[in-house]
Subunit: 207 residues, 2 copies
Amino acid sequence: MPAEASSASSSSPPLTERQEARRRRILHASAQLASRGGFDAVQMREVAESSQVALGTLYRYFPSKVHLLVATMQAQLEHMHGTLRKKPPQGDTAAQRVAETLMRAFRALQREPHLADAMVRALTFADRSVSPEVDQVSRQTTVIILDAMGLENPTAQQLSAVRVIEHTWHSALITWLSGRASIAQVKIDIETVCRLIDLTTAEARTE
Amino acid sequence: MPAEASSASSSSPPLTERQEARRRRILHASAQLASRGGFDAVQMREVAESSQVALGTLYRYFPSKVHLLVATMQAQLEHMHGTLRKKPPQGDTAAQRVAETLMRAFRALQREPHLADAMVRALTFADRSVSPEVDQVSRQTTVIILDAMGLENPTAQQLSAVRVIEHTWHSALITWLSGRASIAQVKIDIETVCRLIDLTTAEARTE
DNA sequence: CGCTAATCTAGAACAAGTTGCAGACTTGAT
DNA sequence: ATCAAGTCTGCAACTTGTTCTAGATTAGCG
């Protein structure tokens, strides 16, 4: 396993130790505040205070509240990916394994609904200035799903199916978080969309 | 056709003429400002000024910026539904007709990308306090899709497929608006998800 | 018409995200 | 150790969504 620092996967000047520590403190404070009151509870002044950093510094690390929360999501996703790797899903078909994986992730989020709320709202509220970071989150999600499918070289069809699954995942999460859908409904919809996998996989085989 | 006033489809005290006029002026100003700079350009003070209404009054009509934009979306959706009714899609299968309908809607939004941005961002950013209004938008979208399918009594399976399509539609729209996906990709994904329709329809026939 | 309750207006005030600035502190190179 | 460049801090100011208030206006009613 490479010794690469945890989160900032690339680019720009390397951070000193104290800077890494600051960054971690900030993300930790962000997640903690979010776990309480969700998006609104993550107030930049409070994050700064909690992480013992000046407001200006906070903004130097994360140029906006949305950037901060998307970075928080990246961190959580990495954590989750690690967890999922340890206990891979057991289903027989790719569709089952993906659905199982997503529902497992879903239950994890259920335990911290406020945190989930903050992260997902930030993700969909993000404008172009956050595109690179949002894209990174999306790529990470794709990796998780492809992992569950156990696929090495997905076809274009399959990639499209994976994107659709991601769309459904995000959007279903939002409707659940805002109380407009039950968990049962989310489960059904996840299972429904996962059938696209079998569909496209069957076709890949007969090509 | 019933003489019911245009937008507020139900509930609460009926509005006087001048009040209806105010409401329309507000929604018009909102859409106009949104058409320029998107979500950020819709500033409550400006909306109030443009529609010749005091700020307090604006807040009496729409309790928050998000409420206002979701209502704006309702109005636009109604308009679009009317337009679509006039020229129903021509495809042979339900899936084709739905995909065609959505892509048509998509092209309409393309013409006013800022407006689309404002409305969709508001929709996904909405918290529980806006649930009823967001739900209304969702129901309207469902009607449009079922219309395109030409279905009277959808099964639970089919309703789930429709929900998944809506999820995909919203989420794909967002990724396009924030420049993370091309139109071609959106088209492919819409077509991919629409295949769920044929799938569930085939099953309904053999039940 | 004249009254009352509801509504509307103008504008101040408050909250939270964001920016700017002057001075202290760190870092890295010499 | 010293200097220059880059960072961090504390704090004030600005922006925009939201709330509040006091005084007009309007609507409905006898």
